[in-house]
């Protein structure tokens, strides 16, 4: 248990440090939301100062940080000047969309990568392995942006898939499972881009991890006892090979969220990515900070989850 407690404390400290640093940097930055107003001759300097005062952009740094941290703790995530309201409602809605997209993509990527990687490991050294690896390697060389644009082109050309958004107009008022099906239909292409982006790396790791346990003495022993290949693979070898893969899932979360940001922007998926980009462009500091904090929390939570899984899967950690 101390292992998990230590990981949890570490994660909390990390989030706290990120909040302090990002807040300090945001205050150091030249210009804010109101500096854009200064170019408007109808708004006087004193009005802008008044607005700043009102928005809490004046006052000592510790006081500002305390106010912001309190707002974080309350779950408001600050006050957006561009949206004229607390950030939280917009943020949660966008975060749900991003989680839905990345979660779906992760699920399908692993469902494809595990059998593919296992199969590659069994066939390693044969032409089948080489061919499969070459086919996947091609995917590594294609930038995510290009992949997303190509899928968008497919959607525009064929009309089989929607070209953006998360729901069709008015779909929410439909009964039964229709709204969910509509979302799934919108989800298909962005998720496919993310899956294709992740797949080569995942398959490569599954393959090398499985190859290791196929060659290990216990793998050879299981084979000598005449246990069938399928049973050996999925009951004996895969669980033993799982450890580095769980760690990989935790580590690759940052890459996944980054790829998701691009895909969301290109394909018009209403997730955190477009929200963040718009906030950066509009100098809406509260939203920028909120998204930064949330993405840090996602990463920390994801890594904690991976630690938890490792703890459940690997008895050696429990003894440490």
């Amino acid at each position: 248990m101390t292992y998990l407690a230590r990981r949890l404390a570490h994660g909390l400290l990390l989030v706290l440090a990120v909040s302090l640093l990002s807040f300090a940097f945001a205050r150091l930055a030249p210009g804010d939301y109101y500096s854009e107003l200064r170019s408007d001759p109808r708004i006087s300097g004193s009005t802008i100062e008044g607005l700043r005062q009102h928005a809490g952009l004046r006052g000592s740094w510790p006081a500002q940080y305390a106010a912001w941290a309190a707002s974080l703790a309350r779950g408001d995530f600050g006050y957006s000047l561009a949206y004229q309201g607390p950030v939280a409602p917009i943020l949660w809605q966008r975060a749900r969309a991003t989680l839905l997209l990345t979660g779906t993509a992760t699920f399908f990527a692993w469902m494809l990568a595990l059998p593919l990687g296992v199969w590659n490991a069994v066939e390693r050294g044969t032409w089948k392995d080489t061919a499969a690896r070459a086919a996947l390697a091609v995917l590594i060389f294609v930038p995510d942006v290009l992949l997303a644009l190509l899928f968008l082109l497919l959607a525009v050309r064929t009309g089989w898939f929607p070209t953006g958004g998360m729901r069709s107009a008015g779909s929410e008022s439909l009964g039964g499972t229709r709204p969910a099906a509509d979302i799934a239909w919108h989800l298909a292409l962005p998720a496919a881009v993310l899956v294709l982006g992740m797949l080569p790396v995942l398959v490569r790791h599954v393959r090398s991890s499985m190859a290791g346990s196929l060659d290990a003495p216990f793998g050879q022993a299981a084979r000598a006892q005449g246990i069938s290949l399928r049973r050996r693979l999925f009951h004996h070898l895969l669980p033993a090979a799982l450890n580095p893969l769980i760690a990989l899932a935790g580590i690759s979360l940052g890459t996944l969220l980054s790829a998701s940001l691009l895909v969301e922007v290109v394909m018009g998926w209403p997730g955190l990515g477009p929200l963040f980009l718009d906030a950066v462009m509009a100098r809406d500091g509260a939203v920028v900070l909120a998204v930064v904090m949330l993405s840090a929390m996602f990463l920390v939570l994801g890594n904690l989850l991976a630690d938890l899984l490792l703890y459940a899967v690997d008895p050696r950690i429990r003894l440490k």
């Binding site: 990120v18 930038p143 644009l149 996944l256 950066v280």
Partner: protein
């Protein structure tokens, strides 16, 4: 496979050398300067290069036909009456020529004719030429940012690994903080701190500073590992026993052992940073028009109508493919020796 390793390294170096030379010599290889507009030919499709003319006569010198607007399709059709042979080492028109441009171009066609190997964009600018010039920005950003990251990583990793103690703790904890954000979110957040409307040169330097400055953590961890091992090795102990100081030890004994890691990391980081530049410029936070980069060129293909009707605007994305292939093949071959 080990016997093939030098061959693979050499092959990928040749591929990369060729691609980089073409991009570096854009002022010679590209038929037009990057900003030269042919307003009468917006969104022209890639020029078709012919060897046989309409009457079936063979021409030893390939040629393109003149373009005429086609009312029926809203695009262009070839005009068989105008025939422009492709000439080599043509004298460049003085229009819009920049400091990096050569007095002669590798190939081109005579003035009223146009040669758009990869089509033209909305201002009638040659996509092929812009792709080569844009490569200068994208590749240079990748290489310089990687150099920055590696220098920082080398300095920080060596300091942390060699001196250990509280310095090690502080530096590695700092690295964890940087890694606590997804990298694209981090890049955007750092970019958000800085003014949005800046000149092209400033934007270019800023990109290098941001991308390179954010990426030191992974190389520094790898360097630290190597340094830790080297510090305890026999030859370092021996040198210390002979009275070698810290500076001498680091310079003569520690740094040379980190070189394999540094080269492998360079081949991994450069393509990653090229993609980072593409992503940032694509999102409108990098180098701006009229200076091309692969990212801001791809951004033009984002509108549905452009994507649907002028798919050749995707060419800059495809240009990244052989570059990535070269670097990743190099990284693969290099790391094979170090990690077994």
């Amino acid at each position: 496979m080990t016997a093939l390793r030098p061959t693979r390294i050499l092959l990928s170096l040749w591929l990369l050398g060729l691609l980089h030379a073409a991009v570096l010599l854009a002022g010679f290889v590209a038929p037009y300067p990057y900003a030269e507009q042919h307003r009468e030919y917006p969104y022209a499709p890639p020029s078709r290069v012919h060897w046989w003319d309409a009457e079936g006569h063979f021409h030893a010198r390939p040629f393109v036909y003149g373009l005429a607007p086609d009312a029926a399709s809203g695009g262009y059709r070839e005009d068989p009456a105008q025939l422009y042979p492709i000439r080599f080492l043509v004298r460049a028109g003085s229009r819009e020529a920049g400091p990096l441009d050569f007095p002669r171009r590798l190939f081109g066609v005579d003035a009223p004719g146009v040669l758009f190997l990869l089509g033209s964009d909305g201002y009638g600018r040659d996509v092929f030429s812009r792709l080569l010039y844009g490569g200068q920005v994208s590749l240079l950003t990748g290489i310089l940012a990687a150099a920055l990251s590696l220098s920082l990583g080398l300095a920080i990793g060596t300091a942390a690994g060699f001196f250990g103690g509280w310095l090690d703790t502080v530096l590695m904890r700092g690295g964890e903080l940087v890694m606590a954000l997804p990298w694209l979110y981090l890049l955007l957040a750092v970019r958000a701190l800085l003014p949005l409307n800046i000149s092209t040169v400033q934007a270019f330097l800023l990109l290098i500073a941001i991308i390179g400055g954010v990426g030191w953590v992974r190389p520094s961890r790898l360097v630290r590992g190597v340094v830790l091992a080297a510090r305890e090795s026999g030859f370092v102990e021996a040198a210390r026993g002979f009275g070698a100081g810290d500076g001498y030890l680091i310079r003569r004994h520690i740094l040379p052992t980190t070189l394999p890691v540094v080269w492998t990391q360079a081949s991994v980081l450069i393509p990653q940073y090229i993609l980072a530049e593409v992503a940032l410029s694509f999102l409108g936070l990098g180098v701006g028009q009229p200076v091309p980069s692969w990212g801001n060129m791809l951004a033009e293909a984002r509108q549905y109508h452009a994507l649907l009707n002028y798919p050749w605007l995707l060419a800059p994305g495809l240009a990244a493919v052989p570059i990535l292939l070269g670097y990743l093949a190099l990284a693969d071959a290099l790391s094979e020796g170090t990690s077994g």
